[in-house]
Symmetry: C2
Subunit: 332 residues, 2 copies
């Protein structure tokens, strides 16, 4: 492999000049720039990243720690982050924490070892509770999950508002005993639950909430018990795509038709929500935008470490489908 000194020799300049040209620095004459570029081309020279990183003490790498890569929300966020990162000549190290605080800690340690320029993190609830930005030697931008207490850059959905609007929609459609099943491991689930509670309160309705681990199976089991128990909800809401999936499974098992026998709505406009007849009413998240906004915020923060803390809140969009149409016996 060609080294910088070989390139320098061929171009008839010093290694410093080669380095300067490649770094895009000014203070190098156009003539030498051309000769260097030509030599680089001719020898197919590629700088050794390890050497560069050692000397420059920068890695131009960002870490992306997602809670659960199987959740399509995070898949799409990752895609956006990756696209933008590589466009900005940054590398991405992707880690999947599986909603496990220990894994999160492990990966955050790893990011320190890798000396990354910054990290994007969607923290589990325990991690978020203890999270202090100053504990880390790199900028951190939270995505999808944060709370009022944490002072860190973040990009999130308007969780409480969206849940509020979704709940109001159900109420307006005539549902009264609406049950809210939400993921207990994330701040997001909680905030959506708050929006639901607020909406129910404004109409003087009794709340019926159930926290579960954020998995399809857990949601299915919880929903099964709910619909077969003595509480008789007339509608179910799920706080995210996985949970919503579990709810549908439970309704299928219980042979309950929606919206005829029970209403249904939830978060995340996944492809299948349109296919399950007559379609499921959801709050759609602008997932790609969220990812894009997050990496942009991180890059800004890296460029300007002392700029004030920012929180970007994106609005969810209500998509009405058949699962929540007005009840025949509605009495508003």
């Amino acid at each position: 492999m060609a080294q910088i000194k070989d390139v320098a020799k061929r171009a008839g300049v010093s290694v410093a000049s080669v380095s300067r040209v490649l770094a895009g620095h000014t203070g190098v004459t156009e003539a030498t720039r051309q000769r260097v570029l030509e030599a680089v081309q001719a020898m197919d020279y590629r700088p050794d990243l390890a050497a560069r990183r050692l000397r420059s003490r920068r890695t131009d790498t960002v870490g992306l720690i997602v809670s659960d890569i199987r959740n399509p929300f995070f898949t799409e966020v990752s895609r956006a982050v990756e696209d933008m990162a590589y466009q900005n000549r940054m590398r991405v190290i992707l880690c999947n924490a599986d909603e496990n605080p220990e894994k999160e800690a492990l990966y955050l340690d790893l990011m320190r070892d890798e000396n990354v320029s910054g990290v994007i993190l969607s923290p589990s609830l325990p991690t978020l509770a203890h999270f202090r930005i100053q504990d880390y030697p790199f900028p951190v931008v939270l995505v999808d999950r944060c709370d009022r207490e944490t002072t860190a850059d973040a990009v999130v959905l308007d969780n409480t508002d969206s849940a509020y609007r979704l709940t109001i929609h159900l109420i307006e459609q005539g549902y009264r005993r609406i049950a809210f099943i939400y993921g207990a491991t994330s701040a997001t689930g909680r905030q959506r639950q708050e929006g639901y509670v607020t909406a129910m309160a404004t109409h003087g309705l009794e709340t019926l909430t159930q926290a579960v681990p954020a998995t399809v199976d857990a949601a299915r089991i919880a929903a099964s018990e709910l619909v077969q128990g003595s509480l008789f909800p007339d509608a179910l809401m799920g706080s995210n795509g996985l949970i919503l999936l579990g709810l549908v499974e439970a309704l299928r098992e219980a042979r309950l038709q929606f919206p005829e026998q029970i209403g249904l709505a939830g978060f995340d406009d996944l492809p299948w929500t349109r296919l399950v007849e007559p379609g499921i009413t959801v709050i759609a998240q602008p997932t790609y935008d969220i990812g894009q906004a997050t990496i942009e915020l991180l890059l800004q923060r890296i460029a300007h470490p002392s700029q004030s803390v920012r929180r970007v809140v994106l609005r969810g969009e209500l998509r009405e489908r058949g699962s929540s149409v007005r009840r025949k016996d509605a009495t508003l």
Copy 2:
């Protein structure tokens, strides 16, 4: 930050000894080992990875270049790869090529720059056609996609066989004019098409195939034309999960009920295939296993660069559901 010389000083040994202990080398007495470990602990010493990589010329990093991260198949494969890699103290750089050969080339270059220990690649068709393992300075293991010509380690489904079995299943259920819609960008789609063709041939049936870009929309449009055209297929098959999704959308648009008016089957047992009444018959891929087998193969190859080329073929599992039940007018 503490450096190795600080640790050495505190432990009262040379830097070489510290390095040896940390590398897990033999030839160091238990007493010094303890003192070093103690000092490392006390000072919270973390070796500088850039320096280590520069000197040792190894990165302990593998690259994972997937064709489309939105495809749940690759999500699950990534998960497995990541799990296993970190268990073996390896890092993973994940790249999403979006079925774009140029992006693939770009990322493969990047892998070279990063001096990775090895790469896992699911190549697009053009890349696969030109692929020669000796063009790369690192081991490459193909996943999901390879053909008879390429001599590289690979982990794949028994695509042709699975498609054959799935087609035979439909034929046995009484379907005759079966159309096969498959992704044109991957070897996988083609091989599955072959299996379909073979199965049709053994029963003397006419084939009806349609190659499309591997997206939901492309599949939907192609299927719409098919079912509304003059060819009158009595069943549709999709070569993967995204395409299958497009088929379902097309049938919904055309208001065609399955299996009553048209049969349906495809690849990938995605969560929603159970939910769309009465369930869709699919070939389930052992996705996590595939990922696991792939990274294991890569690690082996890294450890033994000259071992003979291996191809691991995993068997797909036919899951019969309502979308392919026997036609009333079946005349076998």
